[in-house]
């Protein structure tokens, strides 16, 4: 049984949680990595109840030693890895604390570097034609007022992902970047807006299950025709 690793897992009905569940259903042993033990356990238990395999890994994505230990714990057989860390970090630059800007980059990009480095080293040493996917956003492609920190971190991650895609293609390692353009119909937004159900019904929030299908599609591509980047949005998105 092949192993998959998703880092940046929060609530079960968030993108990270649903990626884990979908991948587990596709016959992977899934390693569920994130900062909050309770959330990880919830995702793992759901997967186990589905009759599939999952293991929680409590980890800070921006800590190199923790990333290295995580990879060791997983052991041989890793074939699919997803970097799904990094929340939106709104705010005007002139009012922004330097640490806030730095932390936006640390979770949004630096952790992606640490993760990619260890994952790809593992793929190469095990001669695995593995897949590594990064979660991006429309913010990855441009800067916008009030979102300078997030735009910057996401732009940094995207260029890194593209460099990785080119750098490790010769090892048959597939690196992809998914542009999630809009709000996801998951826990995070549910907590933030009052009319969540209405917005879901109107089709204004991205269906997470459908997004996880896109990640599986990317995983299943052959090196004879693979995709670096695709975008996902609802039909209602104004772009």
């Amino acid at each position: 049984m092949k192993k998959a690793l998703v880092i940046g897992v929060g609530p079960l009905n968030g993108l990270g949680g649903q990626l884990c569940r979908k991948i587990a259903k596709n016959n992977f042993e899934v390693f569920v990595a994130g900062r909050t033990k309770l959330s990880l356990d919830n995702v793992v238990n759901t997967i186990l109840n589905d009759g599939n395999k999952a293991t929680p890994l409590e980890v800070d994505a921006t800590n190199e030693n923790q990333i290295k230990n995580m990879i060791k714990e997983i052991g041989p057989g890793l074939d699919f890895a997803i970097y799904n860390v990094g929340n939106n970090t709104p705010g005007k630059i002139v009012e922004m604390d330097a640490n806030y800007f730095r932390e936006s980059w640390e979770s949004g990009c630096f952790g992606g570097f640490l993760f990619a480095k260890e994952v790809i080293k593992t793929f190469i040493s095990e001669k695995t034609a593995g897949t590594l996917i990064f979660t991006g956003a429309s913010a990855s492609l441009r800067g916008k007022s009030n979102f300078g920190a997030f735009n910057s971190a996401k732009g940094a991650l995207r260029n890194l992902a593209q460099a990785l895609a080119k750098e490790y293609a010769e090892y048959s390692i597939h690196v992809s970047h998914v542009i999630v353009d809009g709000g996801l119909a998951g826990e995070r937004i549910k907590k933030r807006i009052s009319n969540f159900d209405e917005r879901v019904k109107e089709g204004k929030l991205i269906n997470i299950e459908n997004v996880t299908d896109a990640y599986m599609f990317l995983y299943n591509q052959s090196k004879h025709a693979w995709t670096f980047e695709l975008d996902v949005r609802t039909s209602q998105e104004n772009w």
Copy 2:
């Protein structure tokens, strides 16, 4: 049984031919449209031999009346349409005949306009949440020496496709653009290069079967998380 239409079909082992075959296998009645009767018949017969349904439609994609008649012949039930017309048109601008430049645009973009107009009118009048996909190229995104005509036509098609994607999203019509980055392992290149088999073996040409999977993936997306654009290339492509 839903109907699909692919325009720009040449040899069986080209992208158009293989799109038809793949879509037919996915339980569509496929309308196989192109300029050369012999090629269309070959594709159609192969699909019939597979036990699936197909009809040839001899048509010039740049002729408005022929496009309109084609849509009439197909009749109700169209759900999936692909514009796959437009070959590469190399040449330096200062040495280029004006008609050559014009024809590059006519097949590369104007036919796409005619096609999209009739297909989308049909989707709207039949209240079909249909899918319309355009075949693009790396040329869609930039200009390059010796390829001004092709770059220009493909850039024109891409901006048109993006405008369509936004304009008809409210009708739940999904418009996509596939960036094919590199040579396809099909008849066209086979005829042009001497070491075709070697290049296929080395993985330097894009596997057409895999590309058709990407088109099916786009077709199967829901409007709650759909993709406007994705790229496909081999692991060996220098990009």
Copy 3:
């Protein structure tokens, strides 16, 4: 005295007219090309009254013979050429006449091909390290609902311009593309909106004089550090 040619000249206080006047002030003999004799004469007379040199050339930019004749009439010494043709062409694709779409491309892109071909041939045959600038728009970079025809034509022109920039750099010919992002404070918009003066005062329309400075800046660049593309917009533009 070096010669300059601007095609796509309408009213004096439009971009074409002001480009002519600014270039003439910079010691060029300016050839003022456009479709409407009256407008051309107005621009030419103003330049002559400034004490500078100008000649009107009545020409349809989409007609190859007229373009060729125009170049002949100018004679030797052409050093600077600007393609400024192509108005916005709004409209939904499903309601659009095929000729409207075609004409949008013919003025927006095909004329640019005809113009570039003859201008660059002249530059090469006269061993002139000339400059050729195309007027673009934000529409050059993407598609948007209701602007499919214009987006498509402008995207086509941009990719052509980029191909030309690369193709003729070896002849020290400088090809540039100016992205005008927003409405210009000129005759065209003045006629269309009722609160023109108010909008100018509020700084919401692009100052044409300032745009012409950007064209002169591009002209004056050396081949050791030249620019393919720059954007211009007001501080009030929402982008």
Copy 4:
């Protein structure tokens, strides 16, 4: 006399040094900021010998307190600021030390955040319609094998710059990003390659004097038609 500040100044014949000299010639008191006292003094002395005004400021661009103190030392009247910090940082990701990746971002982007924050705060508090320019590279726009760290840092800086441009346009503050595409004919490359003079003669390296003209052009633009981004390259660049 207006004040200008350039951070990221090294040798006199580098981009930072020549920006200082050019700006000083345009009647600014120039503050010359960088890490190496000797280099700063050399630039300052040259400017003083030209009969213009300059002051050295020894500063680490990635240190918030030093940036804040630098702004205090300059005092009122700042009108023009340039962030020119961040060298290329080649290397494969799997072999790269985490600190190397981090430092690439710290000088390439984080320092730009610190600098922009203090500069813009000063502009706003003094009601100055100032100009802030960032030095970018072709690396700002994409990822490439062996340059993941640099691509990532430069992509981060570009998105930040674009967010700033939009965020502070309402204060009439002009934020720009210059894409330097290729090697500069300056000290850094002179030290690295053996055939420097030959390459300069062949026109293969970007003329720094010409680049400084582009920065002055951006400074001189009005808010009624200003530029966010322009690229500069030689006619010999392969792009």
